[in-house]
Every structure is written in structure tokens, then in C-alpha cells.
Symmetry: C3
Subunit: 355 residues, 3 copies
């Protein structure tokens, strides 16, 4: 259960650099490739000739060629040509709205006609030279909402990431959740604590002492369908915490684009954007490597949680205060799903001539 | 189809030495761990907060801590605490009766209230200093009753274990099966034969000549739900066979605790107890290694037999005289299953106010 | 959906040289072994005693011995003996008609009574000393008809085998398909072209220049249930092409026996028969190795095509002129299936006393 009329991150440019990429998104098997003038394109990954996956083919002069018998598919879903054939009557492939922006390729797995590129959220850190970004991709066998829950309740850091970003004070600090239109914000502030290893390294990376008390913050922002951006950071204590001057702090934005593959699997695009030393590529690499290890710690937990839930469909889970971020996020998703369902029924009625 | 109100071997102490152990037994997902004062505990492997497996957590001061968000589960199934939460109203986890005895941890996957530790069979070889024991654990994808059949009809040794304990004379010796209350005993005696390789080594291990005729015996004892203990041995011929003085023989008890995981998979605890040279740890290791190789020969046969049976549900298997041990054992199991079913219906009627 | 009353290639002699072979063919689990005087035999792979696969056993004096408890199965499906048992009343195993011919073992998975060895197609290349043959076996997860389609439309060579036997001219040459009784023949002739790498090597292997224009031909012959033999070759241009004298050409027969394992998997026996330098074993090996690599290129395509089709059962595939070979072959298969179905209904009616 995921909204299909929404922008999801589908892949990164390097994944389509050399050849077409076949990827299932929201249960749709899609082939992504660079078409004319390098413009990204996305069509159903199914050759209308004999059903071969078009993603096993190649791109020639901006057109996708089926690797089985050479059918040439256009980015509009129409077969352009096929050796020795007239293709005018060939059935059309579904076409997906797709946009390349902010270093990602975004796809709208639902009705392409409804896809407005302006609905892709603005990501300042992706366009400003004052920011650097590094990230990666994990495939995880869990419902995308379990990952949203995970990210909207960072008390799990104390347990899952005990040796890096976790610390007892997260557990103990009160959490506040509010809904602002279609955004859910969960925040937690800790004052006058010692930074955990990951943040000590970040302080050092920014030329700051790592052995003095700090203020620490976590501000998680969910926006539908499934994006979670988290402002995180530490500042030498007594300088205003989150509001402290840049001289006193190390901070960043944890980036989480959670793309459903199927009902119980996701493509998880994770990364970190920082606005200190943006030109330091080695620091970017170090942070990405560290984050990759930390975020890998969630995989087993999420997959085993998913299996447990499938095994016990009758059990109701608790919704505690710490879960408010996930609970509110799911409410927004549910509203989107209901709206999509209503629109579908209305469309069907129109099609049936009932209105 | 297995009795749930019965004691099964769940694991060995080394498996819970460092961290909790998640294991499915009779279709119940259970976490085993050492609670207060090292006492073994077993609760449902499901965190009441968000469904994470508790077995991914850790033990702190005798309590099981969920590795996701720190919920503290008590060995009574009640949540003890959780950072920042009042836990009184949290739903309870199922608790399993569990006992540590004879070097094994035993679990009662059914109603804990009915679990009487006195029902665990007495194992003299496990407590007497005159005996030594070594064993191991295999996971096998077959119905637990196929393993009972296997062990209650040792003619398979001639074929499956031809190079170690098998010999043509097993096939040829008559077999006798009798039922004594809830125990099934199948026995076979062979006189004046040459010992096969495994028993030649055992004779040598006990300081006896291995190149002279021996009498050999196999006395298999099934007790429900699924324990099979087999007295096996050889004695220099003409000294009374099974009744011979210890000076003339090498004998032992093959130990088989067969614990259903699911309807078509088992945890198979195998081992050998011997009452000669009990202090010789190297001999224990050598025997365990040898037995481990021999018993591994059954795995493919049992798993492929299971697949064949699932594929041909319409085929009736033969019940020959050699199968009497397994057939009688299944009858006792069936009685237990029927009794459990009746009790369940009676309980339901009481609950429904019909009696 | 495959005809069961038909001869399929089951295995090659080397596969039953040392021990019985268990193989599923047309959803029938069969054990193949060499019985009395080395004569090939095939019975249901299920021991009537306890359901063990007989293929885990061994052959003793021309009889198949079950590896679990020593039941001796005859090639007529009757249990011959079992240690300590009277076997007269044991249920019979299904027996399969089986023939060793042309270097293959052929099986008739349907009614053995209908199996006429004369229906096995004559393979001149397998018996004539003027021919040499080399081949191999692949297991592929696809409907056997997808492989027939593949082989009856060689335009795929241009794409799937671009670096070896493919070339643009295949695509461009007109294809002709005709049905001759129960044989479908699809042929394509290309004139005055440069040979692709595989054929250049074949020309050299036959002592001919490889850098001159050639005529090339492909004549695919399907016969039911699922055999495809393809005459392929090149001749120095201007010598009559397919009809050219042997001095000017390199040619061979691509051999494809496609045996359904299940509805969506096959045993694919591929090979090449050639009538030049038949005594050159090293050339045979080189060709087999080359062909093996080329034919392995089809595997991913066929398996992914199969998955795509299972995912989109509602999509109708196109039937273009290039697909005529496969389409006509499927028509013949459909007729066989219908005939088999009618015979089955008639048999049932007879059995029910309605006629």
C-alpha cells in the first residue's frame, strides 16, 4: 500500500551511465535509460514483441533497443521500428514520468499525466555550493513504512547504533512531534552531554575539540510519500545549541529517500549532506563509509521485524509517544492513499458513463 | 502435527552463553536467555512495542532488553520497563516453561501451567560420573516422525551407513518390537559376527581385540513426544552378549532428541553416552566426530524422502515388520495428539459456558 | 502443457554410468539406471516402502537397490525382493518406456504401452562415420515453448549472440516458413556477406579462407514434441551456397532437444554435428566449448522473459512473420495436446462404462 501518484527516487545517474537499468518501483517493472540528448526516460520493462525485459537491451542513438530481436522502443512507449517490420499497430508500453534533479532520478509510478515536476521537493543542499553530499543505496526486505517508523523515532540509535551515534541521553530526552500541513516534524534536543564517537569524529573533521560537552539535536522531517530528512548536529555547549554559530558546531542533514519496490521491500537511498568543508572529498568519502556501516545495522532488524509482523498479523503494535512521528506520517500516507482510491473510483465512474 | 504439551530439548547451554537465542519450536518463535541468577528463561520472540524479535537484543542484569528501542522484557512475559514509558498496560508476551537439566535446556511449547518438570525423563548417563557424553545438533528439513521411523528401524544402517556401522547381518537378524506402556522397544541381536569399522574402533578404544567375532545388539527405546535412546554395543562372542561383563564389551547409548521446528523441519540433537573410559575427553571428541559424520549421512535421505512424500500425498507407505517400531511410536503420538485435542475442546466449552 | 505420449531426450549415457540418475521429466520424477546387461531402465523415483527416492540407491546385478532399507526394484516396477520380507503384495511403481539410441537416452513419460521406438526420429549424423558430434546440457527456468520460439527465429542471433554468430544481415534477410506434415521449416539465406567470428573459425577449421565473402544459410526444422535441428553453414560466395560442393563450405547441424522438466523449466540438450574432419576430436572439443558459451547467452534472456510473462499474464504477445516458425510449431503441439486430451476422455468413458 503506497501512493503511486507521487515522486520517488528511482536511481542515481551512475546506475544508468553505461546501460539501461531494470528496477521495480511500487510493483511496476520499469526500465530507466538515457534517451535523446541524454534525457532520462522510463518505460515499462516489457518488450511488446515477446515479453523480454527491455532492460537486457542497449541504447543506440538515444533509443532503447530490445536485446532479444532488436525492437526499438521510443521514450513515448511507442515502438519506433523493428528490423523488417511495420510497427504502427504494435501495442504501446506504459510510460513513466521521470525527472533528473538534485543528483537523483525521480519517477512517478502512477498516472504520468498527473506528474508535475514542481512537486519534487526543493533540496537546497543539493544545489548550493556550500553543501557536500555523499550517500548510497540499500535493498531491504521490509514495508517502506517500517523504515519511516525507524527514522521518525531515533531512540533506536541508543540500541541499534550503540557504538557510533547512539547514547543513553537520546532515550532520556523528551521528544516533540508536530504536524505542519503535510510535514511531520519530530525533534529532540539534548544539552550538555558528551558526543558519541561519530560526532566526535565530525567535530574533529570540522577542526573542533571533541572532548568537551556539547548540545545535540535531531529534527526529523517526514514529507509524503516517504522522504525523511533529518537535521542532526552537535555544538559546543553553551553557544546556543541548534542556533549556535557555525564556528561552534558540526551539523548535517541525514537524507533518506525510501522507495517501495514491492509491498515488503524497498530501495533505500541514504546519505548525508553537510555544510562544513564542502570541498573536502576525502571527508565526504569518510563520512559516507561511516554512515554506510551505521545504516547497515538497521537491515537485519527491519527484515526480521517484517518477518515477525507477517507471522503475527493479529498482533496490534503499540503507539507510544516516541512513535508519534511514524504514526503521524502514516496518517498522511493514509490520506494520500484514500484520495488516490477516491480519484480512481471517480475515474471509473466517468469511464462507465455514470456521471 | 506434534504434541505441544510435552518437554522437548530446545538447545544446549553453550547456545545461550553469550546472547539470547531465537529458535522456533513446534511453530512457536521463542527467545531463550539466561535471566536472574543465570536461570534459563523463554518468552515469545516478539517485542510488544513494534514486533522486533527480542532475540536480536541482549541481557542486562538478568532481563532481556529489546535491541530496537530498549523495552525490557521480564521472564514472566510482562514488560518491566522502557525508557520514558509507563509500561503497566503493555500486552503480555507468552511465556514458556523451560528447564535446564542433563546438559540440555528443555522447553514445553504448550500451556506452561501444565508443565511439570518431573515429566522430563530421567537420564542416568547424564548425571553419573561413570558415563561420558558428546553430541551435536543438526537442522533437517523433514517431519519429526520420519526421523523417529529412521531410528526405530536400524536396518537402514546397512545401506545409509554401509562403511561405518552398517553390515549385512543387521538386515538378516530378526527384529522384535513391543510396547511397554508409553515406551516402544525395538531390539535386534546378532551373534558371532565380525564387527563393522565403527565398532572395531570402539573395541580398540576400550582396549579390546577388534579382530575376533562379537555379539552385537541394538535396543531402541522411543518415548513420547519424540525421544529415542538406543542401547548399542558389541561383546567378544561367547561371553553373554548384551549381558556380558564390562571386560568383554564396548557399548554405549545413542541419544536422539528430535525437536520439531515446523511441520516439515526439525532440530535434531544427537549424541552418544558411554560408560567406558568416561574421563577420556579425547575419546569423547573422536567418537563425536565419527558419529557426526555417520549421522550426517541421513540428512539427504530424510530431506529427499520428505520432498517425495509432499509430492505424492496420495501414496500409502508400507508398514512392514521392520517398521513396527515407528508404527507403534506414531500410535502413541497419535494418542497424545487426540488427548490434547480433546482437552482443547473441553477448555473451549468451559470458556463458552457450555459446561 | 506438454504432450506426455512422446519421446524426449532424458539424459546422456555418461549421466548413468556410475549410479542411478534421478530426473524430473514432464513433471514425472523418474530414476534412470542401467539394468540387466546394461539395458537402460526407468521407473518412478519413489520407493514403495517408505517413499525414499530410489535414485539415492545403487545398482546391484542389474537391479536397483533402494539406499534406505534395501528394497530391490525391478525394471518392470515390481519389487523383486527385500531383506526379510515377502514382497508379492507390494504396490507397483510406474514404469517408463525408455530407449538408448544415437548417443542419448530417450524416455516416453506417458503411457508406456503406446511407446513405439520407431517413433524416435532417425538421426543420420549420429550413426554415420562421416559425422562428428559434441554437445552439452543446460537447465533453464522457462517454458519449453520459449526455447522453441528462440530456435525457430534466429534473428535473435544478431542481438543475443552479437559477438559470435550474430550479424546484421540475418535481420535483413527475408525468412520463409512452411509446414510439411508435422514438420515446421523456417529458412533464411544470406548471399555475399562476410562471415561472423564463429563461422570464420569454422572455415579455418576446415582449411578454408575466412576473409572472403560467403553465402550463409539457416534451415530450422521443428518436429514434435520439441526437437529442433538446424542446418547452418557458410560457403565461399558464388559456389552455390547451400548446394555448394563440400570443398567450398563449412556446415553443420545444430542439435536442440528440449525436454520439459516442469511447466516452467527445461533440460536443454544442445550440440553440433558436423560432416567435415569428423575424426578431429580436438576440433569437436573446441566447437563444443565455443557453442557452450554462445548458447549460455540465451539463458538469462529466456529466464527473465519467463518471469516477465508470468508477471503479465494479461499481455498478448505479437506474432510477426519472424515468429512464424514458433507459431506453427506451437500449433502442432496444440494439436498433439488436444489429441492426447481426447484420448484421455475416451479412456475415461470406457473405464466408466459409457461406451
Amino acid at each position: 500500500m503506497f501512493p503511486k501518484n507521487a515522486w520517488y527516487v528511482a536511481c542515481t545517474p551512475d546506475e544508468v551511465a553505461d546501460k539501461p537499468l531494470g528496477r521495480t518501483i511500487c510493483n511496476e517493472a520499469i526500465v530507466f535509460y538515457r534517451g535523446h540528448e541524454g534525457k532520462i526516460a522510463a518505460v515499462e520493462d516489457f518488450c511488446p514483441h515477446r515479453g523480454a525485459p527491455l532492460s537486457l537491451g542497449f541504447v543506440r542513438d538515444g533509443e532503447l533497443v530490445c536485446g532479444y530481436h532488436g525492437l526499438v522502443m521510443g521514450c513515448d512507449g511507442h515502438t519506433q521500428s523493428m528490423p523488417g517490420q511495420r510497427v504502427r499497430g504494435f501495442p504501446c508500453n506504459k510510460v513513466y514520468a521521470v525527472e533528473e534533479r538534485y543528483g537523483f532520478i525521480w519517477v512517478w509510478p502512477g498516472e504520468a499525466a498527473q506528474a508535475d515536476p514542481e512537486l519534487i521537493p526543493h533540496l537546497e543542499w543539493a544545489v548550493s555550493p556550500q553543501w557536500a553530499y555523499g550517500g548510497g543505496l540499500y535493498h531491504i526486505n521490509c514495508d517502506y513504512r517500517l523504515m519511516i517508523d525507524n527514522l521518525m523515532d531515533l531512540t533506536h540509535e541508543t540500541y541499534v547504533h550503540a557504538s557510533s551515534i547512539g547514547q543513553k541521553e537520546i532515550d532520556e530526552a523528551p521528544v516533540s512531534t508536530k504536524v505542519e500541513g503535510e510535514m511531520v516534524v519530530t525533534s529532540r534536543y539534548m544539552e550538555n552531554i558528551m558526543a558519541p564517537p561519530f560526532w566526535r569524529a565530525a567535530l574533529r573533521g570540522n577542526g573542533l575539540a571533541d572532548d568537551v560537552p556539547v548540545d545535540r539535536w535531531q529534527i526529523c522531517r517526514f514529507t509524503p510519500p516517504s522522504h525523511v530528512l533529518i537535521e542532526v548536529g552537535v555544538a559546543h555547549a553553551g553557544n546556543g545549541g541548534y542556533e549556535a554559530d557555525a564556528r561552534f558546531k558540526a551539523s548535517s542533514i541525514v537524507v533518506d529517500f525510501i522507495t517501495p519496490e514491492t509491498d515488503t521491500s524497498i530501495w533505500y537511498f541514504w546519505g548525508m549532506a553537510r555544510n562544513f568543508k564542502p570541498g573536502d572529498q576525502q571527508l565526504t568519502d569518510t563520512i559516507r563509509e561511516g554512515q554506510g556501516k551505521i545504516f547497515a545495522e538497521d537491515l537485519e532488524m527491519l527484515e526480521r521485524q517484517q518477518q515477525n509482523l507477517l507471522r503475527h498479523p493479529e498482533r496490534n503494535l503499540l503507539k507510544l509517544n516516541i512513535d508519534a512521528g511514524g504514526v503521524q506520517s502514516r496518517k498522511i500516507i493514509d490520506r494520500w492513499l484514500a484520495a488516490e482510491q477516491s480519484a480512481l473510483i471517480a475515474t471509473d465512474k466517468v469511464a462507465a458513463g455514470q456521471v
